[in-house]
């Protein structure tokens, strides 16, 4: 229970379904530093506790700040130092919510962990679990859960996944929950809006000025501040070319302090190589049955799904070819793969090399 409306309603639905003696609320204290609200402020813990009180369930706060620092924040900072931009929400889900919290829930004797994510779990007759997009296409969070596997899904519940956001708020209002009108959380929970990503990273990384290089000609186009803060695909601050068209970042070489920029076409890629590959089902028959597997790729939280083919690269990774060229995927970003036959269902994920 983050203190937001989704997890509040998730708890309420569970209590309705299972009874209050079967449910315990838990809030994770993840970030020790300052935040706008994120998941960690005392005010949000208070909201979560008041909702739990109202629902008549016990509420605990678990302090996972050390793991959050080690597994989410430090890799986020270190990634930028070498030109990678990891997705902290996904790493938090991977290492904290669906690992550390699962272990804790286990040791306390619980059967499952429910979260307020907008996603759905479906179970086949054979007992295999599937991960399905949330019912509200605008709030669907299957992308940030795409790294879940059978073990985790077997013990996961997403009670609000079948509702739209409007229905979640209606339900919260109907139940008189204090979080009913609380605004949705935005952006990265450990970065304050007044400092922004650049301020946060600037306090933790030595930033270096670099050179802008024309992707087509290799020409040096002038200086660029803080290469660590430049992301592949970025348009902001890159100006226009001689042809009057906007320029995009096509590559960032932090050690060499070089940022290559080019035309929109040059900023596109026909595919992406993935490592840290996960499968929702342990047995991705489709990909093993044929060397070339078609799938649907989604490259950001609310990115447009795009048809692709997926091929094992022989060393544990995946090679993804898009049906039509896509804006380059920044190294470190997660690509979620969906089932071409059932585009609502996640089949796996990987991290862009």
């Amino acid at each position: 229970m983050s203190g937001g409306v989704d997890s509040s309603v998730a708890a309420a639905l569970l209590v309705e379904e299972l009874g209050r003696d079967q449910v315990v609320g838990a809030t994770l204290k993840l970030w020790g530093g300052a935040s706008d609200s994120g998941c960690c402020s005392v005010a949000d813990v208070e909201d979560a506790r008041r909702v739990a009180d109202q629902l008549g369930v016990v509420h605990h706060v678990f302090n996972f700040t050390a793991e959050f620092e080690a597994r989410v924040v430090a890799p986020y900072v270190d990634g930028h130092a070498v030109g990678r931009t990891p997705n902290p929400c996904i790493e938090c889900n991977r290492h904290l919510k669906f690992d550390r919290l699962f272990d804790r829930a286990w040791s306390l004797g619980f059967d499952a962990v429910a979260t307020g994510h907008h996603a759905r779990r479906a179970t086949t007759e054979a007992g295999r679990h599937r991960l399905i997009r949330g019912a509200d296409p605008l709030k669907d969070q299957s992308y940030v859960l795409a790294m879940l596997g059978q073990d985790q899904l077997a013990r996961s519940l997403f009670p609000v996944g079948r509702l739209t956001k409007a229905e979640v708020r209606q339900e919260a209002t109907r139940l008189g929950l204090r979080t009913a009108l609380k605004p949705d959380s935005q952006d990265v929970c450990f970065i304050r809006s007044d400092e922004g990503r650049d301020g946060f990273l600037g306090d933790r990384l030595p930033l270096h000025d670099g050179r802008l290089i024309d992707d087509a000609t290799g020409e040096d186009l002038g200086p660029v501040p803080a290469v660590e803060l430049v992301t592949v695909g970025q348009r902001r601050g890159m100006g226009h070319g001689d042809d009057g068209r906007r320029r995009y970042v096509t590559a960032v070489d932090v050690p060499a302090r070089r940022v290559r920029i080019g035309t929109p076409e040059a900023a596109n890629a026909s595919g992406v190589e993935l490592h840290t590959v996960t499968w929702v089902d342990d047995d991705p028959t489709r990909i093993d049955a044929s060397p070339e597997c078609s799938a649907i790729a989604q490259c950001s939280a609310h990115g447009r799904p795009v048809a692709c083919t997926v091929r094992r690269d022989g060393s544990g990774g995946l090679s993804v070819r898009f049906a039509t060229p896509q804006r380059r995927i920044a190294p470190g970003q997660t690509v979620a793969l969906y089932d071409p036959v059932d585009p609502e269902a996640v089949i796996g994920s990987g991290i862009a090399a």
Partner: protein, 383 residues
């Protein structure tokens, strides 16, 4: 029946203390503001004066040395900020033990915000007592304030205040010596402690009094700048209408606590030893923190290797045992113990500490329950 073993966090109020405070809450002729000049005020003022005299005597202090505050944290803050005044630590370095309660630690840290002087935090020996060699090195002649607690709140070790006092007087004669004695009152003779320091903080709810009232003993001649300014109550050292009923109840609780101390100490020592020895014998990988020979009777603190205390206290609670893991922060989450870190444990080990703290209301049945449930819970969590 639940087993309440968190007396170091707070104690239930003693019935005689509740009884004592009632007239000053609702009594028609005694609810007054002690600063006024009519009969209702005089009654209230008399009660505060009586309580002050009683508390001073029980602590071995003079009547004029007792300043009532809104609890132990406020007393500690008044001690630190009051001594340093507007200058912060710029007037000379400050020294504190690294195992101080956060009420002292964070007050000291706030006094040395960037550019405002130096704070020297002195670690502990493995037994859980402030390291006197390191303290000696830290106490240079220009030190302005030294703070070493009387009894550590987490593991219960009695700090060598006598030696600390001699050391400070010899090496830093200009320094003010403060002690947070919040955990000492139920267990130790207070007069020798009071005699060895310049400032001493206490909190009523740790010995059967109400929450939200405490005191700072300020030795005559030690100048204290007020933190709360206003009507100049408490001889200009702590403004604000005194918590009359709370102060009266604190005096009653202290009086009863001191009167029963010998008996309580003997009885609780027996219970505590049975609890500790039982757990050490029945739980593999259980280790007592600190040296029992230097602990107050109420504290039993153990580390269960490989068992996260945050999970342990949740399961203990479900099994009917109220215990604690380290210090709870404002959100209710458990922080790795800074006390165990100060004793040289690593972060992981410092997250395995569980404190069972006993008090006047503790019974054999409480101990029996702990001994019955803990081995199973530890085994379950290790699986």
């Amino acid at each position: 029946m639940r087993a309440y073993l968190d007396h170091a966090a707070t104690t239930p109020m003693r019935p005689d203390a509740v009884e004592a405070m009632l007239p000053y809450l609702t009594g028609a002729d005694s609810f007054g503001n002690p600063s006024g000049s009519h009969r209702e005020s005089r009654r209230a003022r008399l009660a505060v004066d009586d309580a002050r005299e009683q508390i001073a005597e029980l602590l071995g202090a003079d009547l004029g040395e007792v300043v009532f505050t809104g609890g132990g944290t406020e007393a500690d803050n008044l001690a630190v900020a009051g001594v340093l005044g507007g200058l912060g630590a710029r007037g000379g370095p400050i020294v504190c033990s690294a195992m101080e309660h956060h009420a002292v630690l964070n007050a000291c840290r706030a006094a040395v915000e960037p550019g405002r002087g130096e704070l020297r935090e002195v670690g502990s020996d493995p037994a859980g007592r402030v390291d006197l060699d390191r303290l000696a090195a830290a106490c240079t002649a220009d030190v302005r304030l030294v703070s070493v607690m009387a009894v550590n709140n987490e593991i219960g070790t009695i700090q060598p205040l006598d030696a600390v006092s001699r050391l400070v007087r010899a090496q830093a004669p200009g320094a003010v010596l403060h002690t947070d004695a919040v955990q000492a009152v139920p267990w130790l003779a207070m007069a020798p402690i009071t005699a060895s320091v310049d400032l001493l903080a206490l909190s009523a709810h740790k010995f059967g009094g109400p929450k939200g009232v405490g005191a700072l003993v300020v030795r005559h001649g030690v100048a204290i700048e007020p933190v709360a300014r206003g009507g100049g109550q408490e001889r200009d050292r702590r403004s604000g209408t005194p918590n009359v009923a709370g102060i009266v109840a604190m005096a009653a609780a202290l009086s009863a606590t001191v009167a029963e101390r010998t008996e309580t100490t003997a009885r609780v020592t027996g219970l505590r030893n049975r609890l500790l020895d039982g757990l050490l014998a029945s739980v593999e990988g259980a280790e007592e923190s600190g040296d029992r020979a230097h602990k107050v009777p109420g504290h039993a603190h153990l580390c269960f290797t490989g068992v996260e205390s945050e999970a342990m206290v949740v399961l203990l609670d479900e099994a009917g045992v109220a215990a604690s893991a380290g210090a709870a922060c404002s959100s209710g989450a458990v922080e790795p113990s800074h006390v165990l870190l100060a004793m040289g444990l690593d972060k992981q080990a410092a997250s395995t500490g569980v404190r069972f703290s006993l008090g006047t209301t503790s019974t054999d049945a409480d101990v029996d329950r702990v001994l019955a449930v803990v081995p199973g819970l530890v085994a379950g969590l290790r699986n």
